[in-house]
């Protein structure tokens, strides 16, 4: 389920990446408040654990092996917010050091596996387990169902993200620029695999670990939610501000996409909205007909001649250069200023 670089258009990974920023900020604030000073080692070990779970190969009846995604298990044990951080970090490390999943696709992969999956898993788990005792069999059943549902939701999202690529981005003669298959192909292919195998592996592993903890180490199942309600009341005001900020960011994020779009001369606003409007329609279309979706599709900026836009690019390059060095300069300043204040 790790999407590599090159499968998604920059617009898709850009949007999902920007969308993840408020989620990451919220998860940092949430876990900082709940886990307090222990957050760093606990989150690190949580993330390391998530990474390591993905290395456990599960034997399947047909002789092959499959590994679980682990997000559901982490969400059940450490709660959804800590899972956001844990899984994101596991994904970053996989992408950076082990070439599993793309660097640019980190936003998209995080959205599917580090945001949607743990939240779906956690709330399904809460809903089914309710206020049952830690040792109750409702707990592990809840964990299994949560894992099964969450991994399938996550797989469906992956399928949709990949499936909308050919609709949105292809050349005039129907050549795919990114992922070549339509929704009608990606959705069944990916979801069936997860309904039959991935989901079951995830469910079995999650449930078995919960059963193991029920038998051997019950406090592990009581780490989250924390019992300190007092903290919540105290910082209620802060939380409101955070939500306002997040709301603002969410409102602004499409603007960011439009802005980058116009820098590269890719989309006009109208076209962008047009495409978004067409997405649901495309789902119902047969594979053959989608190619004529944008019969006169052409990219306005790209059609112009080279010299005409070269000046614009050089300008943006100079701005880019300035931005990079300003960023580094500011960081150095912060660093030295911090040192001075501290010393």
């Amino acid at each position: 389920m790790h999407i590599p670089d090159g499968f998604l258009s920059p617009q898709t990974w850009g949007t999902l990446g920007l969308g993840m920023i408020p989620v990451w900020i919220a998860s940092a604030i949430k876990t900082a408040r709940n886990l307090k000073i222990k957050q760093v080692p606990l989150l690190s070990l949580g993330a390391a654990f998530t990474f390591v779970i993905m290395m456990f190969n599960i034997p399947l009846p047909n002789g092959t092996t499959l590994h679980p995604a682990g997000a559901a298990l982490v969400a059940v044990i450490l709660g959804p917010w800590a899972a956001v951080i844990g899984v994101t970090i596991a994904l970053v490390i996989q992408a950076l050091f082990f070439g599993d999943g793309g660097l640019m696709a980190i936003g998209a992969n995080s959205f599917n596996m580090a945001f949607v999956m743990p939240f779906v898993a956690y709330y399904v788990y809460r809903m089914i387990s309710g206020s049952s005792a830690v040792t109750s069999s409702r707990r592990w059943i809840a964990a299994a169902v949560a894992a099964y549902i969450s991994v399938n939701v996550s797989a469906l999202l992956t399928a949709v993200e990949l499936g909308i690529q050919p609709m949105l981005y292809h050349t005039a003669d129907g050549r795919a620029l990114f992922f070549p298959y339509a929704l009608s192909q990606t959705v069944p292919a990916i979801t069936i695999a997860h309904l039959l195998f991935g989901g079951i592996v995830e469910a079995v592993v999650t449930a078995m670990v919960v059963i193991y903890f029920q038998k051997v180490n019950q406090p592990m199942l009581e780490l989250y939610p924390h019992k300190s309600e007092k903290v919540h009341v105290q910082s209620g005001l802060n939380l409101k501000k955070v939500w306002a900020a997040i709301g603002g960011l969410i409102l602004l994020s499409p603007l960011g996409v439009l802005a980058t779009g116009s820098v590269w001369g890719e989309w006009s606003t109208e076209e962008f909205q047009n495409m978004l409007g067409y997405v649901p329609e495309g789902i119902s279309k047969a594979p053959g007909s989608k190619l004529n979706f944008f019969p006169d599709y052409s990219v306005p900026g790209w059609a112009a001649n080279f010299t005409g836009t070269a000046a614009g690019y050089i300008l943006s390059a100079v701005v880019g250069l300035l931005l990079i060095f300003t960023a580094i300069y500011i960081f150095n300043r912060f660093q030295t200023k911090g040192d001075r204040v501290n010393g």
Binding site: P41, S44, Q335, T336, D339, G343
Partner: protein, 272 residues
């Protein structure tokens, strides 16, 4: 002597939640510049005692004074007190893997001084000089998982020494080390003691006691102080050592310098 007291424990008890106590009625004074060994079998409460001394856990009964001030959770939440205390007391954990959490050796040694808000240039200077002192140059950029057990212990010691603490607490420092590294460690401790540091070592390794202790405190398996005294006297008291389960029937005391091929004898050149 009052000014000289580093730690004072009064009737200290400790138990975790509803579990049986791991320390009972401990009364103890530790003076500046002392070399102390806490002896005890596994599970006698050595680690608990050391963690209490380092302000990581707090007694469930009795009180602890550190440098004349009460060592409580509340006091340690005070930034100034906490910072002062952490500067003065360094703790070397038994499990080096827990102690070495930074991405490489350099960062590991710099961690302590950075947390204590030393200026950048001084942090760098301290790290470099500690690296030189302990001969860690080849390991400088090495990540912790690529260190051997002995190297890990050296880096752990370096990471605490960079804070320049007055008191050094070591939990089972020789565990899992080869004889050569054990010897190296004993020499370092002797040197540090000569430089005026207070050294508190928990161990059940009787062979090193004489070298690193002026005073020995023995914890029994029922978590009380079973004996206290000079290392020679303690090590001679076979009956007591048997009772606290530190030795078996077949134990013979190691005589230093008996076999000249053996490395132990040369430690004595360092101490005067």
């Amino acid at each position: 002597m009052g000014d000289n007291t580093v730690f004072e424990l009064r009737n200290v008890n400790y138990h975790y939640l509803n579990e049986p106590p791991t320390l009972k009625d401990i009364n103890l004074k530790i003076y500046s510049g002392e070399k102390i060994v806490i002896l005890g079998a596994n599970g006698s409460g050595k680690s608990t005692l050391q963690r209490i001394l380092d302000g990581l856990i707090f007694p469930t009964g009795g009180e602890v004074l550190a440098f004349g001030k009460k060592l409580t959770e509340e006091n340690l939440n005070d930034q100034k007190f906490s910072s002062e205390f952490r500067k003065k007391v360094g703790f070397i954990f038994q499990n080096s893997d827990a102690q070495l959490f930074s991405p490489n050796v350099w960062d590991e040694i710099a961690f302590g001084p950075l947390q204590l808000d030393l200026p950048k240039s001084e942090v760098e200077e301290r790290v470099e000089s500690i690296i030189k002192m302990l001969g860690l140059e080849p390991l400088r950029e090495r990540p912790p998982y690529k260190l051997s057990g002995g190297e890990k212990k050296k880096v752990a010691i370096a990471s605490v020494l960079s804070i320049n603490p007055e008191v050094l607490i070591l939990d089972e420092p020789t565990n899992g080390l080869d004889p050569r590294t054990q010897m190296w460690l004993v020499e370092v401790l002797i040197k540090l003691h000569q430089a005026g540091k207070t050294i508190i070592t928990a161990t059940h390794n009787l062979d090193i006691v004489k070298d690193i202790a002026d005073r020995v405190i023995v914890l029994s398996e029922d978590h009380v102080i079973a004996a206290e005294g000079k290392p020679e006297d303690i090590l001679r008291d076979r009956e007591m050592l048997l009772k606290v389960n530190l030795i078996g029937e077949h134990y013979h005391e190691h005589r230093h310098g008996d076999d000249s091929g053996h490395g132990h004898s040369h430690f004595h050149h360092h101490k005067h």
